[in-house]
Amino acid sequence: MTARNPSAPGTSRAWPSFYLRYMVEPYVYLSPALILIALVMLVPLVIGISYAFQSVNLLRPLDTGWAGLDNFRALWSDRKFWLALTNTFWWTAGSITFQFFLGLGLALLLNTSFHGKRLVQALVFLPWAVPTFLSALTWAWLFNPTIGPLPHWLAALGILPEPFNIMGDPNLAMWGAITANVWFGIPFFAITLLAALQSIPGELYEAAEIDGASAWQMFTKITLPFLAPMIAITVMLRTIWIANFADLIFVMTGGGPANSTQILSTYIFTTAFRKLDFGYASAIAVALLGLLLVYAAVLLVLRRKLVKI
């Protein structure tokens, strides 16, 4: 970029044209994207953060204005908020653990050769294409004893005393939501990890085999080290994504029964959508954003420490 490339067209032209080509041209291609992102995402983001410090409730239009930290004080003494925080933790941890291990298993299986591979691959990835609201409804129906088989099967196995609606039971509803999320999320991990697996050079396995390595040794000494960076980044991004993911629980239970499946993101949505209390909803959102930032920072610090050793 520093020296003029003699073969590039337009070298004979004046400096401004050269400058224009290399400094402004990329922004011509980028401008529609940047303008839309700024107007639809960044500006509302700033407004959203400012709402957290205001009283904005569409049901009480006269009572608007700056409220300082009132929303956060209310949040601190809101039992529902702390419950939602605990639930967010279990929802995220449960979903990510099962999604990851089942996704890794599937990726390892798909990385071998077997009959009908193309068809199997298409079928196991299919849940990824199912619209979220439909996955949520379908699983809610499967857990409903009127039309779904799962409560009957669980009762037959002796796990449930009688076939009742799993999504209506405060102790079990979260597991129902996590099951639906795992079903929906396995393909994502399988796809990402399969792509990483396919980038591992095959010669490494051949050499290891000649040296008499067992399958388990090859997995821990070759596969895992190669996958590790990909695993770290996907797990981190996916954790943030799942913590923000409200659609599934909102459709399956609406946060119920008795707030047993209320997570922070569904709490934000119901506060904004049903109570139209935008100020309070934004305060919860700022709290969630803060927690996610802390999580990301801790992970980055941990990673730096581990890499040093």
């Binding site: 990835f125 199912v130 979220t132 996955s135 796809i191 923000n244």
Partner: protein, 280 residues
Amino acid sequence: MSAHRHSSPLAVTGKYLALALYVGFALFPLYWLAKIAVTPDKLIYTEGTALVPSSFTLENFRTVLVATDFLYYFRNSLVVSLTTAAITTCIAAAAGYAFSRFTFRGKRLVVAIMLITQMFPLLMIIAPIYKIVAAVGLLNSLTSLIIVYTAFNIPFATFLMQSFFDGIPKDLEEAGMMDGCTRFQALRKIVLPLTLPGLGATLGFIFTAAWSELLFALMLINSNDTMTFPVGLLTFVSKFSVDWGQMMAAGVLALVPSCLFFIFIQRYLVQGLTSGAVKG
């Protein structure tokens, strides 16, 4: 690769068993959805948990298509998703091209902004967006949904398009430009035809994402005329929650466009989607 290893018959059986379990887990909920949709109403309660219905009907589909508003919802969703996919793909192709072919001042900042938009809770902006859309008088219009969905999907689509452009050798367009094309002509005549599969895949991903978006549509739309399919189905479920057969028939219909696009894009899933991320 690892397929060269000689496996015992036991290991092979185990592998096929595991694959069968995965396929079963993936397909079972969808099978059940389709099963209830074709079960006649009077049999739903008596043989609710039977694996195969004893008789079969398409009556539920007929009722959903003829007697409810689902065709309107379907059309609204189709308009929103197709328009969003088309606009997003054009804008993201331009941005992805800039990322792939130029090094420029501020590139790292632009990439960082795009990554951040993928990570903060989108629900954070649902209230401001509602207020802005209300202020410009676009509540209950499909236009507002198209604008919002387009902006949401641009960052991901841009990175996807960048990975497709990265896969096309730079020499091709440089040769074209030496022969007297401008950069834009080279882009149009040489690069774009080569990246058509990438454009198709991006269209598919964005269509699927727009087709399934629910929460912003719930917030911005409440008139029956402009409801998208997810909003319509949810309203239907909360109003008529005993018409199991009809609800599931509507669900099966919602699945059709997603599945069509999925069949189209699934061969790009592994190679296309993640090649850029893995190399980087």
